[in-house]
């Protein structure tokens, strides 16, 4: 579904991604872990072109995302993204946050979008917050709304950039619960996270990145029980 070919990204002299090759199939839940500065967030952000790759190609199905003539806005409508800092629109109510993109991109009419928002809010248990502003919500609620906002576009794949890293510990669970439910419903997901328990249960595949390279690419059991790369063993021994 997503295929990355020989992708490199540099910020000035610093090469953050080094010739990455990656294939992600439909329905896979890929968790990317690694130390900070390893390039995992940059890789994720390259997938929807929030960062422009220095070289290499990325494909979503048949469309080349990195193609010169590509309409990136159309591609992004097929990929949802959830950020560490939620990035809800503070001047809009929860419902307005959710309906903005579907309505603006003419994907849904206003009443359709409102109905869809209602249905999605119900799914994450936040129906009572429909008319609240983001400033009135807790971190966990904000992140669940952010997930719903991305889902309102009916994306084919969801990208999560450290979705629980900015949360108070007691709010992590409610966000992971929503993500787990998404995974069970067969959403294709790429998740950058430090939540090892989530990686172990929900992932179908774990990538370990360090210094701009993918050092290990294995199913969770193998990754945690029997990692091949010594750098991965060292990392796991520190955090587990």
């Amino acid at each position: 579904m997503i295929s990355v070919k020989n992708l490199s990204k540099s910020f000035g002299d610093l090469q953050v991604l080094k010739n990455i090759d990656l294939e992600i199939a439909k329905g896979e839940k890929v968790v990317i872990i690694g130390p900070s500065g390893s390039g995992k967030s940059t890789l994720l952000r390259c997938l929807n072109l929030l960062e422009t790759p220095t070289s290499g190609q990325i494909f979503l199905e048949e469309s080349e995302i990195t193609g010169k003539k590509q309409n990136i806005d159309r591609i992004r409508r097929r990929m949802g993204m959830v950020f560490q800092n939620f990035n809800l629109f503070p001047h809009m109510t929860v419902t307005e946050n959710i309906t903005l993109a579907p309505v603006m991109t003419k994907k849904l009419t206003k009443p359709e979008a409102a109905a869809r928002a209602e249905q999605l809010l119900k799914r994450v248990g936040l129906s009572d917050k429909a008319d609240s502003y983001p400033a009135q919500l807790s971190g966990g609620q904000k992140q669940r709304i952010a997930i719903v906002r991305a889902l309102a576009m009916d994306p084919e794949v969801m990208l999560f950039d450290e979705p629980t890293s900015a949360l108070d510990p007691e709010m992590v669970g409610e966000v992971l619960e929503v993500m787990r439910e998404l995974a069970e419903n067969n959403m294709t997901m790429v998740v950058v996270t430090h939540e090892m328990a989530f990686a172990r249960e929900a992932a179908t595949r774990i990538l370990f990145m360090d210094e701009g390279k993918i050092l290990e690419d294995a199913p969770p059991e193998e990754f945690f029980e029997n990692p091949k790369n010594p750098r991965v063993k060292e990392f796991l021994s520190k955090i587990l």
Partner: protein, 239 residues
């Protein structure tokens, strides 16, 4: 004591009522309001565009399109020149140099001069307002598939304008008071109206006090109005 108040009342009648001299101040006030209002409209429109162009460059890098690049360059020159020279010199140049050959209406010349002057300051206000919005807001909008124009209009600008409003109000207050130099091109505004009364009464004391009070009341009114507007726009901040 009674004499004191009697004296003030007499002075008031002599300076403002006799010969309908209040009419002179009122005419001047209307000129001041006209110049300020239209200059503010030009300034806000021009400043908005220039601020948008300059903020966009800072966020997204210099344009590679040559035509657009020249526009960015023009905006830089505009802001540098206007902010680098006194508004009075600009007013004199507009009236005595640029429109020297044509018989232009004095208040129109003043509107043009103050409109262009205010535009440069307003552009900086909008620029900093736009740049005060976290880059994550743009990323969120774009990641949802909104175009950069849609993201700007729906996500960034409503927040940027809200942040810019106090500074924008300040600029409008400054503009209102700065128009008081239009007397230098022979336009009789609120400030200059004192000299006509003085030429008849031989004293500038009372007209000047009255004029100062009128400015003060206008500025206080404007401040109040902006306060109401700000509170309205801050609705979403409530917890």
């Amino acid at each position: 004591m009674a004499d004191f108040f009697k004296n003030i009342a007499d002075q008031f009648v002599f300076n403002f009522i006799e010969g309908d001299r209040w009419q002179i101040i009122l005419d001047g006030l209307l000129v001041t309001l006209k110049v300020t209002l239209f200059a503010a409209l030009i300034g806000i429109a021009l400043g908005f565009l220039v601020g948008l162009i300059r903020a966009n460059r800072e966020r997204n890098g210099r344009s590679r399109n040559f035509r657009y690049f020249r526009l960015e360059w023009l905006c830089d020159i505009y802001v540098t020149v206007i902010r680098g020279t006194p508004v009075m010199v600009q007013l004199l140049i507009i009236y005595f140099v640029v429109f020297a050959a044509v018989d232009i209406d004095k208040s129109l010349a003043a509107i043009i001069a103050f409109g262009f002057n205010s535009g440069a300051y307003v552009s900086e206000i909008f620029r900093s307002g736009i740049l005060s919005i976290d880059i994550g807001q743009t990323e969120a909008g774009r990641s949802l598939g909104l175009t950069s124009a849609q993201t700007m209009v729906k996500v960034i600008l409503p927040q940027a304008v809200k942040n810019a409003l106090p500074a924008l109000g300040n600029e409008m207050i400054t503009l209102l008071k700065e128009t008081s130099v239009v007397g230098y091109i022979g336009l009789v505004d609120l400030t200059k109206s004192y000299s006509i009364i003085q030429s008849r009464t031989l004293s500038a004391f009372w007209p000047l006090i009255a004029i100062a009070l009128i400015y003060l009341v206008m500025v206080m009114g404007l401040t109040k109005l902006l306060g109401i507007l700000e509170r309205r726009l801050r609705q979403s901040d409530k917890r």
